[in-house]
Symmetry: C2
Subunit: 433 residues, 2 copies
């Protein structure tokens, strides 16, 4: 990394150090370009394992990698810790909390945030889990609810405290529900002997007819079976109407009394001001052409969850998953270098390597093209794929050891409330992100 400006080089500014931005930056190493990577965090978040931080199985730091450390040997890259406020494309600058940054090529890799579909009450009373601080808030909330349940005399309030509802039955929702159910089945009686594990309840509320709707029917069916085995109560084909902090109202008229609602029911693209409204498509994503160039712009691109590459073959863009983000980052690196040299860029083509979700120990599902597997085999596969995707040898070892320990005892070691959770403080924290 260097902070000196090399005059003759084109400057590529990347906003966001998620999977997409990171891959793009890595593939520009030692090339004849100047790269500026801007992120509001000084670390990359390995989002697929956030639920393990939230449920006290992993340390926050093992899934957060300092960006400066990742790019220690990238001499043509500068990192900037800042929030990007606005794209001013006619002047070719972005406005940030640390001033303006000029670009020759701009890449928005800003990802997606939790989507509450405009419902302010849901946004206030439920908890998203898209960042490390949010995952730590979820962890604190779970542990604080149980601590309060221990001393609660009123049976109704106690039930509310011990009821956990996950809205959304996609991979995040299913993995979180599974982890909470294992907590209930294996940890609760050891840590909280005065609480009856039977009284802790975990729900999934999913609007589609099946959980893991993006995966095969086989995977969905098996996931449902696993969830039942772990005594997770799954509601399908229903929607949450409202939640006031104590009563979750479902559109079939049912009410679940709970204090703990985790919102994993959808995401929406998140990006700075200044992108023409007519480029925004469903899911608040930015429409791009097949080269990930934002339609109507010549030198502004979007990759990852925030981008929707809309072509005749992909009328709704690609799924918002790490694989797409990484492949787009890699492809755009090649394309930007080609464009700079006056060559033809190549269109993005998604190579779907399959998808996986883990529900609990030995309980996972995997669809790898036509090959589908479940149970122990899928679980081992899931562990290895995630382990090898982690950045840094030490993180790999620490996470591996944690999983080994947990395999035999179910007992993660990180059930600590680093900062007490309160709705007021939480809002400030996440605002400060």
């Amino acid at each position: 990394m260097t902070d000196q400006t090399k005059a003759p080089c084109k400057r590529i500014v990347i906003v966001g150090g998620g999977f997409a931005g990171l891959e793009l930056a890595k593939h520009l190493k030692d090339k004849e370009v100047e790269v500026v990577l801007v992120d509001r965090h000084n670390y990359h978040t390995f989002q697929p394992l956030l639920y393990q931080v939230a449920t006290g199985a992993l340390e926050a730091e093992t899934i957060a990698f300092p960006i400066r450390r990742i790019f220690q040997n990238h001499k043509n890259l500068n990192f900037r810790l800042a929030n990007v406020l606005k794209v001013i494309s006619d002047r070719k600058v972005i406005e940030t909390t640390i001033g303006e940054i000029p670009y020759d090529y701009l890449v928005l890799a800003t990802g997606a945030a939790t989507n509450f579909f405009g419902d302010k009450q849901l946004e206030h009373f439920t908890m998203g889990m898209k960042s490390v601080p949010e995952a730590l808030n979820v962890r604190s909330m779970i542990l604080q609810s149980l601590e309060t349940a221990v001393i609660e005399q009123d049976p109704v309030e106690k039930e509310e405290l011990m009821t956990f509802v996950i809205v959304g039955g996609g991979p995040t929702g299913v993995e979180l529900a599974g982890a909470l159910a294992e907590f209930k089945n294996h940890i609760l009686k050891k840590d909280y002997p005065s609480l009856n594990p039977e009284e802790m309840r975990v729900f999934i509320v999913e609007s589609k007819p099946r959980v893991l709707g993006v995966m095969s029917e086989e995977a969905s069916a098996k996931a449902k079976e696993y969830l039942e085995k772990l005594s997770v109560i799954t509601y399908n084909s229903v929607r949450v109407k409202s939640f006031d902090g104590e009563s979750l109202l479902i559109n079939n008229g049912e009410v679940i009394k709970t204090r703990n609602v985790l919102w994993a029911a959808g995401v929406a693209g998140e990006f700075p001001e200044g992108i023409s409204a007519d480029k925004i498509v469903s899911g608040n994503r930015i429409e791009t052409d097949k080269y990930n160039r934002i339609k109507g712009y010549t030198d502004v691109f979007a990759i990852g969850d925030v981008a929707a590459v809309i072509t005749p073959g992909t009328p709704a863009g690609h799924p918002g998953v790490a694989q797409v983000a990484m492949q787009q980052g890699q492809q755009l690196a090649k394309n930007l270098l080609a464009i700079i040299k006056g060559k033809e860029p190549a269109p993005f083509k998604y190579n779907d390597k399959g998808s996986m979700a883990t529900i609990g120990k030995n309980k996972a599902v995997a669809d790898i093209g036509k090959f589908k597997t479940q149970g122990f085999r899928a679980w081992v596969l899931w562990c290895f794929v995630h382990l090898f995707s982690l950045i840094g040898t030490r993180n790999k070892i620490v996470v591996f050891l944690g999983w080994i320990g947990k395999y035999f005892s179910y007992d993660g070691a990180t059930r600590i409330i680093i900062r007490p959770f309160s709705r007021e403080l939480m809002r400030e924290d996440t605002a400060a992100k």
Copy 2:
């Protein structure tokens, strides 16, 4: 652990899960008493390694152990997450944030907090480091200052951002200064290539004529030599007069321009209301007899940093270190059981096993009785003593791996700003502790 009350047993309420409270509770396992352990955190903090969390060498969770997990098999112990507000000894109850808790015997093991000697400006602008949230705030502050220095154009402001002053040259101050100096010497050029390591400065300001004043002259001299080798600038026999956020005024008239002042210049006992003012001695500690019984009370005891066992042989009590706390906890466990059985308690007698401090890699000092050692040997000893004091196999392994990695590369892996630091937010967080 159980939350059922066993009527015939005496109830011992322990306030604080630090070294003293933990040892006491452990030694009451399976005894004919009911134990209630109350702490405002749900974890025990291994304070000797807080400085490594603050400097990004260790994950917060590796030095914080969930109290419920420690006591999983203690059937006669209940944990309560609460702040203790007041001791009401005539009714034999404590008032807490979760209601009143009655006791037969009460033990205050509430430890010590940073002592700003009543100076509100110092308290506002400098940072203490007695808890995990505080250590994470220090980590965020260090990293945020460097991120800001990268983009700072004004040389004076840049110098302020890159100047770190540690007030207090005791073990905490020396260890923190050493860790910051190693950061400066080994990490800075890799992570922040645009910053000149020469421009990062680390100061210690100590009121006594030598650093590590509690250790031997030999240890002090060697520590001073190590600090010089690491290019830490040490001021002795001077005091801080004031700090307004930018200028640190010393009583020799000198001013150090800095944004980063870490306060390790003393601690003061911290305890709930309700203890007679005439029992409070120097350092805001509670005076006890040789059985750790608070003078004037029959069934209220104090152990650890908050207690001063004042006898003819120890006119100022014992030093506020982990060893004293642990030995008092162990002794008091025996004494309480004796007292309950109507037997004679035994007086506390401190067995000083020596003291150690580490300044950097291969640079430590140790006084073990008459045996004094420095350098590599002391450093290995320091590592092993701290490693074996950690609770939990996994934590031992994770910390050990971290140290191994750091030994070869100096490069810890946890330089992440989990929550951005701001004075305003910090105050709320620490208040919420």
